[in-house]
């Protein structure tokens, strides 16, 4: 268990981390997200006692890292895969770390096998590729078989096979009851690996919630509706009917409609009532990436602009069209779909999934919402659980 309380770090007059409080619990993979320069690495370094907080504190299992007994056996960390002496062989690098905490040399060969570096164990790490260096860093983190693991960008530079391996490794470590805290920029990867998210922006906590809640709270799903291309008047007709029923309609480039604010069955009913045939009616759940972009767009420090290539461009030949801008580049708000629901609280805490449905009603296409406790046939408080109950059989 990692616990930060009011963690603040200032470098000169720049505040890198401000009043950060969170808990990282054992048994789950906790993702740590934030734009570049938002203070993720600083926070990681403070957890490991490398940097002293200006105020506040962070503890692991109740101890500040520097006072943790035999820290290397309790906490394993990959902070920077390049933080090795390039002239030292991989095995010697791990050996000197192992000797620090009295880990036998046999364990070094074990972890080298685990990360798949046994064939280059006696090679200098100078010649390692980014992915090999990453594997070496992961090996160092696993060395002491620790209960708490911190990984800063572990999949950086890994090949697809390596990414899959890291994903399964994280899940397996968490399933063994360990505390796994991992930062990454790869949203798709995070969505597959993490159960819980801590999101910071400009050094402050933006969200601390489960990944499902995060997506539900920060983005809207929508329904994609397509009417026959051959009859444009049907499209107009349906748009008007949906708007009348309280939905929002946005035309898409390819002629389809993006509908929010109405559940899918209702859209189908409206189409039926207005006598419009549908070629497509499909639910679209927002991705973690979309939700993340939406939440952090105000907290991004380094944003790209459109490359104007002024002075490099040949004058366009007469009649030629200028190229279309690349979606997402230099267009703030590209990833800003409409707010989840009228009066929605974009940064709110965990919500009841039934209320968070993107169509203003329980989303029949999403995962079924948890049964309300009152509806349960035999609440555990009123009826003593019997051994035959399937709920308790596991």
């Amino acid at each position: 268990m990692i616990e930060a309380v009011g963690l603040t770090k200032r470098y000169g007059d720049k505040t890198a981390v401000y009043n950060l409080s969170f808990q990282v619990r054992p048994g789950t993979v906790t993702g740590f997200l934030g734009p570049n320069g938002s203070g993720k690495s600083t926070t990681m370094r403070m957890i490991l006692g490398l940097d002293n907080p200006t105020s506040g504190q962070v503890t692991i299992g109740g101890y500040p890292y520097r006072r943790l007994p035999n820290a290397a056996r309790q906490v394993g960390a990959l902070i920077d895969a390049k933080a090795v002496h390039g002239g030292r062989a991989a095995r010697n690098h791990l050996l000197c770390l192992a000797q620090l905490s009295g880990i036998p040399a046999r364990r070094v060969d074990e972890v080298l096998g685990v990360v798949g570096l046994q064939d280059v164990a006696r090679k200098r790490s100078k010649g390692f590729s980014l992915g090999m260096g990453q594997r070496l860093g992961i090996a160092a983190a696993l060395l002491g078989d620790p209960q708490v693991l911190l990984f800063d960008e572990p999949v950086n530079g890994l090949d697809p096979e390596g990414i899959l391996w890291v994903r399964n490794l994280m899940k397996a470590l968490a399933a063994e009851g360990r505390t796994v805290f991992v930062s990454s920029h790869l949203m798709s990867e995070m969505a597959l690996t993490a159960d819980h998210l801590i999101v910071i922006g400009r050094g402050q906590l933006l969200a601390d919630m489960s990944i499902q809640d995060f997506i539900a709270a920060n983005s809207a799903g929508f329904a994609r509706v397509r009417t026959p291309d051959t009859e444009p008047q049907l499209r107009e007709k349906l748009s008007a009917a949906i708007t009348e029923a309280g939905g929002h309609v946005l035309p898409e480039q390819d002629g389809a409609l993006r509908v929010t604010g109405l559940p899918l069955p209702r859209i189908s009913d409206i189409a039926h009532d207005t006598d419009v045939r549908l070629w497509e009616l499909s639910p679209h759940q927002a991705s973690l990436e979309e939700a993340y972009m939406r939440m952090t767009q105000g907290a991004v420090d380094y944003r790209s602009t459109i490359d104007q290539k002024a002075g490099l461009m040949q004058p366009l030949p007469p009649g030629a069209q200028p190229p279309m801008p690349v979606p997402g580049q230099g267009q703030p708000g590209w990833y800003a779909p409409p707010p989840p629901q009228p009066g929605g609280q974009p940064f709110a805490g965990p919500q009841d999934p039934a209320q968070a449905g993107p169509y203003g009603a329980p989303n029949p296409y999403a995962q079924p919402p948890a049964q309300p406790p009152a509806a349960a046939p035999a609440p555990q408080t009123s009826a003593p659980a019997t051994p035959t109950e399937p709920e308790d059989a596991r």
Binding site: R45, L48, G49, L50, D51, N52, Y65, R66, R67, L68, N70, A71, A72, V75, A77, I79, D80, K82, A83, V84, H85, G86, G87, R88, A89, N92, H93, L95, C96, L97, A98, Q99, L100, S101, G102, A140
Partner: protein, 256 residues
């Protein structure tokens, strides 16, 4: 965490990088080689020397003439042992593994010092005996008064130079900055201050000049140095202590 574990780890670190072997063997080769060369030259020059020079002729000290260059290799060794942790970023891995920074620094310096002492003593004895062999009839014997002290002192001098460099490197962190300050300091500034009469009185309290006094057996005739051989080494040890305390204080409070 037991200090022995940290020491064993530091030993693995120091023996597994090429720079250790290179810098230390350079120190050995330069000190011994130059010592032999200057001893041989001194023997040939002896008859042409003035009476005063002949009286203050110090065969032991002559054989240590290579030390002035050999110490530069020891400086590089001391600087690299500490600062390669910083230049490679290894320091973060190391300090994450050993949060007790005092133990970490002490173990690192203990291991490097032990190695320097072993190499320094071997170099000192070898350069003495080979140098004396070159000096022929003008040679000193190891049993002569003060000679054994000077030879052991030569090894201690090399060790202290390396330790001082470790302290400075731990304070400055960058290998380039550390070498950029230490090299000119010991190679040029100290010599200039020591040879210009106006600054001589200050120059002789610099670590290398004070420390090298231990290697002298015959005191020059017009010598007015206010300290003896061990006093000089003590002054050098004070410099080392200040550098190491500074390193400890900075490491303790600084962000890694």
């Amino acid at each position: 965490m037991a200090a022995t574990q940290v020491i064993r780890s530091e030993w693995t670190k120091i023996r597994s990088v090429a720079s250790t072997v290179w810098t230390l063997s350079l120190a050995v080769v330069v000190t011994i080689g130059l010592g032999i060369l200057i001893s041989a030259l001194s023997k040939n020059e002896f008859d042409n020397m003035s009476r005063q020079d002949k009286l203050s002729f110090d065969p032991t000290f002559i054989s240590f003439a290579g030390m002035s260059l050999g110490q530069l290799a020891m400086i590089v060794f001391g600087v690299l042992v500490v600062s390669n942790e910083y230049s490679t970023g290894m320091i973060r891995t190391s300090l994450a593994a050993v949060p007790q920074r005092g133990t970490f620094l002490a173990s690192k310096i203990a291991v490097a010092t032990g190695l320097s002492l072993a190499v320094g003593l071997v170099t000192s004895f070898v350069t003495f005996f080979l140098g004396q062999a070159m000096l022929g009839s003008h040679r000193a014997e190891i049993g002569d008064t003060g000679v054994l002290r000077a030879v052991i002192g030569g090894g201690l001098y090399m060790t202290l130079i390396a330790m001082f460099s470790m302290g400075v490197a731990a304070m400055l962190r960058s290998p380039m900055l550390s070498l950029g300050i230490l090299m000119p300091f010991f190679f040029l500034i100290s010599n200039i201050l020591g040879n210009v009469s106006a600054t001589k009185k200050i120059g002789r309290f610099l670590p290398d000049q004070a420390g090298s006094r231990i290697m002298q057996v015959v005191t020059p005739i017009d010598d007015d140095t206010p300290y003896g051989p061990w006093g000089g080494l003590g002054i050098m040890a004070l410099w080392v202590a200040v550098a190491l305390i500074g390193a400890y204080v900075l490491l303790k409070k600084r962000d890694a």
